[in-house]
């Protein structure tokens, strides 16, 4: 529906239409529009397929994920479709059982990071002045750590525990989310409808709840999608290098690392979990990109993704 022409029109109208999702018909309409694009539909289908696999998997697995059923690192056979892992456990069964924890931790970490980041960003954007600059200085400090380094720092002393992984990854998202939501809040706060509400003497919290936040919804949705992709990447990475979920828990990240030694004998022990993680993150990325294009109305959603990329610097003082 929104071709290049109307996108350019929306940009030209500037401030009026940039108010966000409200005038474009809310999340449902944006989602429908995103799903009408090829990348949006394919992306969501990939994500749902992996989620279904991870949720239903444990119930349909032919063996227990811990049972020793075949020769270690043997290739695919009739009773072990994807062969055996380095201890002789069934790769297919472990694959079916190994996605749930990763998905759950990633969702929790994302909610924590986006929630905390939004609280900081909206506060900074609305209050401005001293509080704003103090908060943004803190955000700068947070931005000085590469996310995985920060997560490793937290995990290093307390040891690898699921809740700590959630906290570490969530907290590492916070400064970037805060930057994005602060900028979006500043954009919304200078809109005419906010000024009208202010001059009519509407209370501050009503302005926040009824004027500002509804206009941040599409920005937040895009953030959630991006951050979820990064959470999956980070948690899988932490697990892969040995600091997420401990073996013998069946987990895609753990599987990849422990079966690496047998790459030449049974590559499926590594390739199958890699494929699951890749399909999941690629699907998330495609859908988020389509959603961002629909929500913001330009075909340069890529810029937006960069803005929220794992790295982010601010050029203007």
């Amino acid at each position: 529906m929104t071709g290049a022409g109307s996108a350019a029109g929306a940009r030209a109208l500037g401030a009026l239409t940039r108010a966000g999702g409200a005038d474009r018909g809310g999340i449902a309409a944006i989602t429908r529009q995103a799903l009408r694009t090829k990348r949006g539909a394919i992306g969501l289908a990939l994500v749902l397929a992996v989620v279904l696999f991870a949720v239903v998997g444990p119930f349909v697995a032919p063996y227990s994920p811990d049972a020793l059923v075949t020769v270690p690192l043997s290739g695919p056979s009739g009773h072990a479709w994807l062969g055996g892992d380095f201890l002789g456990r069934d790769v297919w069964s472990r694959l079916l059982a190994g996605g749930g924890a990763l998905l759950l931790l990633a969702v929790l970490a994302t909610l924590l990071g986006v929630g905390a980041g939004t609280a900081i960003g909206v506060t900074a954007g609305l209050v401005q002045g001293k509080t704003d600059s103090v908060l943004m200085r803190l955000v700068d400090v947070g931005l000085a750590f590469p996310q995985i380094v920060f997560a490793l720092l937290l995990v290093s002393v307390a040891g690898a525990r699921p809740w700590l992984v959630v906290v570490a990854v969530g907290v590492s998202h916070t400064p970037q989310v805060a930057r994005v939501t602060r900028a979006a809040t500043l954009d919304v706060a200078e809109q005419d409808f906010v000024k009208v509400a202010e001059s009519n003497g509407v209370r501050r919290w009503r302005i926040i709840v009824f004027e500002i936040v509804p206009n941040l919804v599409s920005v937040l949705m895009v953030e959630l999608g991006l951050r979820l992709t990064f959470s999956i990447t980070l948690i899988a990475g932490l697990t892969f290098i040995g600091f997420g979920l401990r073996p013998p828990a069946p987990n895609w990240g753990v599987m990849i690392n422990e079966n690496r030694i047998g790459l030449t004998l049974n590559p499926w022990g590594v390739l199958a979990p890699i494929a699951m993680i890749a399909i999941l993150t690629i699907g998330m990325n495609l859908f988020t990109d389509a959603f961002a294009s629909a929500a913001i109305g330009v075909d340069r959603a890529g810029d937006l993704m960069l803005e929220a990329a794992p790295f982010a610097a601010e050029a203007a003082p």
Partner: protein
């Protein structure tokens, strides 16, 4: 706010106003430096506090379940854990400022002597990857923007969406499967360089780690460059140059690209920032003896002085690159010196 920077409008390419604006540059530079020093200080406090606040005392963390009370007390004394936190911090940061980041709890040698060779190994990896990646990404982005929705544009845009989504270790292991184990066996799957030997002596072992990093960074650089160039190409002065009948190449490289210079600088800065974290997993996969692998090893063995120093080092690099990038961007785009 925008990373894909708005290129300067034509008036700003004229040197005169730029020179006038130079007056505001020095104080700005000063403020940046002060902010950078403050950030570094705060970072060091965070690094230090993280090992204090978290559940479990550092000494018991190092010794694990097996530590006898005597051994714990002995280690606490060695790590000065019996002194108040502020005094501990002061002696730690004082040591670092004097070039002595402490003694490793595991290897029984100074942290500096463990870390230094790793700095060089990682620097080789990061610099080569950055040069190759920025080269490919910038050229690709400019070409894609010049033929919008053409073959290069479409395929690189879709390719970048797919590659940016993949975790580094997925890319790394796919390369290992392709080139050193299952499909072909032309490159070493892991590096056998011992820490301390120069990594440049074994170029074959550098290929896959560098290729991984390049594959991961190119899409970001490409997308950012494409966005910046598209914006420059839509501007009035490019329209004007086209109407004058200048050749496509001239318009592209003489008129549009210089105005997208700020984004190029930012791209390089951001690439370096990304690589500071990206090396962790990639070095682990390839057993490459750099800072990232050092950090993973230190975390595995709970070598707290080494963890603290490595994290501080990576964060300092981050802050440094940030400041340099910002200053360079301000130098090439006068308009940004004024708060809007």
């Amino acid at each position: 706010m925008s990373l894909a920077a708005t290129p300067a409008s034509p008036g700003e390419a004229v040197p005169a106003p730029a020179r006038r604006a130079g007056g505001t540059l020095l104080p700005l530079l000063g403020r940046r430096l002060v902010a950078g020093v403050f950030t570094l200080f705060a970072v060091s406090v965070v690094v230090f506090a993280a090992t204090q606040v978290l559940p479990g005392n550092a000494a018991t963390a190092v010794l694990g379940q097996s530590g006898t009370p005597q051994r714990v007390a002995q280690l606490e004394a060695q790590m000065h854990l019996d002194r108040p936190a502020v005094a501990q911090y002061a002696s730690w940061i004082g040591g670092i400022l004097h070039g002595n980041p402490g003694t490793s709890l595991v290897a029984n040698q100074s942290v500096a002597s463990i870390v230094l060779p790793r700095v060089l190994a990682s620097a080789a990896l990061v610099l080569i990857a950055a040069v190759v990646g920025v080269g490919i990404g910038v050229v690709g982005g400019v070409l894609a923007a010049s033929r919008r929705s053409g073959l290069i544009d479409q395929s690189m845009s879709l390719g970048s969406l797919i590659v940016t989504a993949m975790p580094e270790f997925v890319v790394a292991l796919l390369l290992v499967v392709l080139f050193s184990t299952t499909v072909l066996r032309v490159l070493p799957a892991v590096s056998v360089i011992t820490p301390g030997r120069s990594v440049l002596d074994s170029p074959a072992e550098l290929v896959l780690p560098i290729a991984t990093l390049v594959i991961v960074i190119v899409p970001y650089i490409f997308r950012m460059m494409r966005g910046a160039m598209l914006e420059a190409l839509e501007s009035d002065y490019v329209e004007m140059a086209r109407l004058k009948g200048l050749s496509v190449r001239r318009v592209l490289f003489v008129h549009a690209l210089p105005n997208a210079l700020a984004p190029v600088i930012q791209v390089i800065g951001l690439t370096l920032l990304y690589l500071a974290g990206g090396i962790v997993v990639v070095e682990f996969v390839f057993n490459y003896p750099g800072l990232g692998q050092g950090l993973v090893n230190a975390v595995t063995t709970r070598d707290i002085p080494a963890i603290q120093f490595l994290v501080l080092l990576l964060a300092a690099f981050y802050v440094f690159v940030n400041i340099v990038t910002d200053v360079l961007v301000l130098l090439v785009s006068p308009r940004r010196r004024y708060p809007r």
